[in-house]
């Protein structure tokens, strides 16, 4: 997607939704998963992903787990209990937003 500004406000929700589905993920995996799911249309930049992950962690929505993989340590993120509840709320908000945008972009005129 050429205009990354369009999804910036939804980045946190995208991360929460992915973690809700996948259980636990690490940074690189998230970027690749989004790329694969959107067939390369949407690319989460590294410069945006980590600040978002760290912010969600500071808010108590994510917790981290560390495991040794190959010859290095890997940091996995997963939802906290509070994060699971927040995912439901934020997804509902995003769906409302998408519906409103659809109405704005493609209004269905009706004669009442």
């Amino acid at each position: 997607m050429a205009n990354s500004k369009l999804y910036k406000g939804s980045l946190n929700t995208i991360i929460l939704k992915l973690l809700d589905e996948q259980g636990k993920m690490y940074g690189y995996e998230i970027t690749q998963k989004v790329k694969a799911l959107t067939k390369g249309e949407l690319k989460i930049t590294e410069g945006a992903l980590y600040p978002a992950l760290h912010k969600l962690e500071a808010e108590g929505l994510l917790e981290v787990e560390v495991a040794k993989v190959d010859n290095r340590l890997r940091k996995y993120y997963k939802l906290t209990e509070q994060g699971e509840k927040e995912t439901v709320n934020r997804l509902a908000e995003l769906e409302d937003f998408i519906r409103s945008m659809q109405q704005l972009v493609n209004p269905k005129w009706s004669i009442s």
């Binding site: 980590y50 981290v64 560390v66 993989v69 190959d70 010859n71 290095r72």
Partner: protein, 234 residues
């Protein structure tokens, strides 16, 4: 193809050269770069390590790691403030609430008994003592912390614990609030509710300082393990 131990070590040097000073970020960024390089080698096994590393680094944009560092710092400060608040909240539960109420009432009595002209000085003194102790402690802590640089791993949250999350500027804020009061002291300070409020405010400032200066540093290891699951692993 997987990265060797030496190449991982080179990646640590690489991120350090790009102004990433804290281990909590080193680990994550090294793993990210390593993953990217390994994927590149799958597509193009002949690509050199340095070329693949450069290609991955470019994905972080023109600012490199600086935006990530800045936002991480803010996230860690937020975590620190949350911890202060967590310890402060304990003073509103039994048994510590007894101490909070007793101290507030004693301070209130002092304010009540003092002549009007000296009331604000009393509050100001409480705040100033906290700020002065905190400033001296932070200088001492900083010296202690500097000795670690280059020898031990640095953690962003640990830095917040020892420099009080750069909170000294915030602690100075009450002085700005009290200043106008100094000028209008006789006007409002006969009010019993205001005096009670000032007593609670003074006790809270002293308590918050106590939490930052003594309570949190004494629990540093515990809090660091809680913040970083990797703390005990490295």
């Amino acid at each position: 193809m997987k990265l060797s131990e030496n190449q991982i070590e080179e990646l640590f040097v690489f991120v350090r050269k790009h102004y990433v000073e804290h281990y909590d970020l080193h680990m994550e960024l090294v793993d990210h770069l390593a993953d990217g390089i390994e994927v590149q080698w799958l597509e193009n096994p002949k690509m050199s390590f340095k070329e693949a590393r450069q290609k991955e680094f470019k994905k972080f944009g023109v600012c490199g790691f600086s935006d990530i560092i800045e936002k991480r710092r803010r996230a860690m400060e937020k975590r620190y403030y949350k911890n202060i608040f967590k310890f402060y909240k304990e003073y509103f539960k039994i048994p510590k609430i007894v101490l909070l109420v007793t101290l507030t009432l004693l301070t209130f009595l002092c304010i009540r008994l003092l002549p009007d002209d000296y009331k604000t000085y009393f509050v100001l003194a409480g705040v100033l003592v906290s700020v002065v102790v905190m400033t001296f402690r932070s200088i001492k802590n900083y010296r202690f912390y500097r000795k670690k640089i280059g020898i031990e791993k640095r953690w962003m949250f640990e830095e917040n614990i020892y420099n009080f999350g750069n909170v000294i500027s915030i602690v100075m804020l009450p002085i700005h609030i009290i200043n106008p009061l100094m000028n209008a002291q006789s006007l409002a300070l006969n009010n019993i509710y205001l005096e009670l409020g000032l007593a609670f405010f003074t006790v809270s400032i002293v308590l918050l300082s106590y939490i930052m200066i003594y309570v949190i540093p004494s629990k540093a290891q515990e809090l660091l393990s809680e913040t970083y699951p990797e703390y005990k692993l490295v």
